[in-house]
Structures are given as structure tokens and as C-alpha cells.
Amino acid sequence: MRLRHWGHTVARRGHLMVYLLPPSRKDWARALLAELEEIERGPSALRWVLGGGRVVARGWIGSITGEDNMKTVLATLSVINGLMGLTLLGLFLFTDDTPLVVPVLGVGLLIQAGYTLAYMAGVLDAREPWSQRALLAGQTVAVLVGFFGFVASALYNVAPPGGDYEYGPLTIGALIAMQASVALWIFAVQDRPERTRVAQP
């Protein structure tokens, strides 16, 4: 059974969305909708619609952000994290009674920032694909740790014991999570990871 009423309805609604897309992507959105008329009703049609929605969303997001802009943001956040890491280490070395967690976080920030910048600069080329897998794994863990730290600090600050607010862990959690989120975002919005030619001997 051909997709008829359902397909026409989605297509009509979809054509309204087409007008919101950047000019270079309008034809492609129309093409996706036109193909929908040819697809049998059921899971195939649903998958086509979901995939098409992803393409349209990417077109929108891409026109707003641009991958290169996001890479600039990632590099900037990495530098900020690195500076924060150095600050925390300095705090531990030059002040008394600094808890051990401070330099541990400082080292964590330095590793996150240093590895990301080194990867972006191509220093780890020779270690592909493991360097990329390590980056993805590390950033995934960083998102979780940073987010957890941010939420835990925020909850603590709702009713801090003795009225002693803690903004340090809140800031560090946010920095870790933001940097990692942008790195993972770049992977997510790319159509697929680019593969560079490996130099032949």
C-alpha cells in the first residue's frame, strides 16, 4: 500500500519547514519530501522522516554555527581549561591547607585541555585511530564528571552548611562539561568523521 494521506500530510507540513531553511538546502529538503511519496507506509517511511529531520536540523544548525566556528570555540575553551588547571596547581603549591582534590582537578583540566589541543594540532596523528578513541572516551567521561560536579555543587549551594557557598567546584564542573560537550558536539554534527590519508612509505 502506497503512502498516501499520511505522506501528503507530512509533505505539506514539511514544505512549510522548507521555507525556514538556508537557500542552499531548500532543494534537498524538497527532495527528501518528494521521495516520501514513494515509500510504503510503516517503519521505512518513519525512518525516512526521522533521517530527513536530522538532515534538515543539521542544515539549520550548520548555518548558525558552522563547524569551523565550533572548533574555534573548542580551542578557546581548551585554553581556558588549561589556564584554570595551572591556577589550581598554583593554588595548591603556594597556599596552605588546600585540599588534595584541588591539584587533582587541576591535573585533570590540564590533561583534558592539553590532549584536545594536541589532537587538534595533529600532534597525535601517528597514534590514529587510538588517539581519537581516547579523545572520545575521555570527553564522554568529562561530560559526565563535569555535569555531576556542577549539579552537586549547585545543589550544595541551595542550602550550604554555615552559609559557606562553593563556587569553585561549580565553575570547574561547568568548564569541564562545556569543553567536553563542544568536542562531542563537533563529532555529532559532522556527517561522519573525516579520514585523512595516511602517508604511504
Binding site: A11, A34, W48, G51, D68, Q132, P193, E194, R195, R197
Partner: protein, 103 residues
Amino acid sequence: MNGRRPSTQTETVLSAFLESPGEWFYGYDLSKRLGLPSGTLYPILMRLEDRSHLETRWTEPAEGGRPPRHMYRLTTAGRAWATAAVAEPSGAITFRRPVGDTG
């Protein structure tokens, strides 16, 4: 894709085009034939067109009441590029811009 090796999915799409050079393909037919979802196939087609490897046209289907469909085939330059790209050995994965790639 200047200086970059295409992804496995892109290679699959290119191979399908190269099997019948000069033939026009529909998106859904390609999707079915290659087992690629629309969310994967169309970004590849869009990228190929952006880089002038793919030409597109709208066609009126024979059956009335249906909207025109978008069709695709490799350009002459695209065929040459695709033949070379598909023949290249695989490489490593990265999201960095390759050195010297200004596009």
C-alpha cells in the same frame, strides 16, 4: 573532500554511481539499494554536490499527482575523482582539518 579520503558510506555511494556511470539515481532507490538511511545518504549527496562531484535535476514522474523527484549522477570530474577515491587505501579517523586543506 580535497585531500581527504571519503568515509566508508561515501565510498559505497560512489561505487553505486560508478557501477552505472551516466545513469540518474533517485534518493530512495539509492537508500534501498545501499542500505543507507536518509540521514546518512543525503548529507553525502549534499557534500558531493557542494564539491561539484554530483549533478542534480528535477524530473516529472510519469504518474500524475506525484511531486517531481530529485535525481543524481556523478559529473565527469566527479567520476574521475570517485574512481581515484574508491581505489585509495583506508586511512585513520580524525575530526581535525588536514594540514594544507583550506577548503
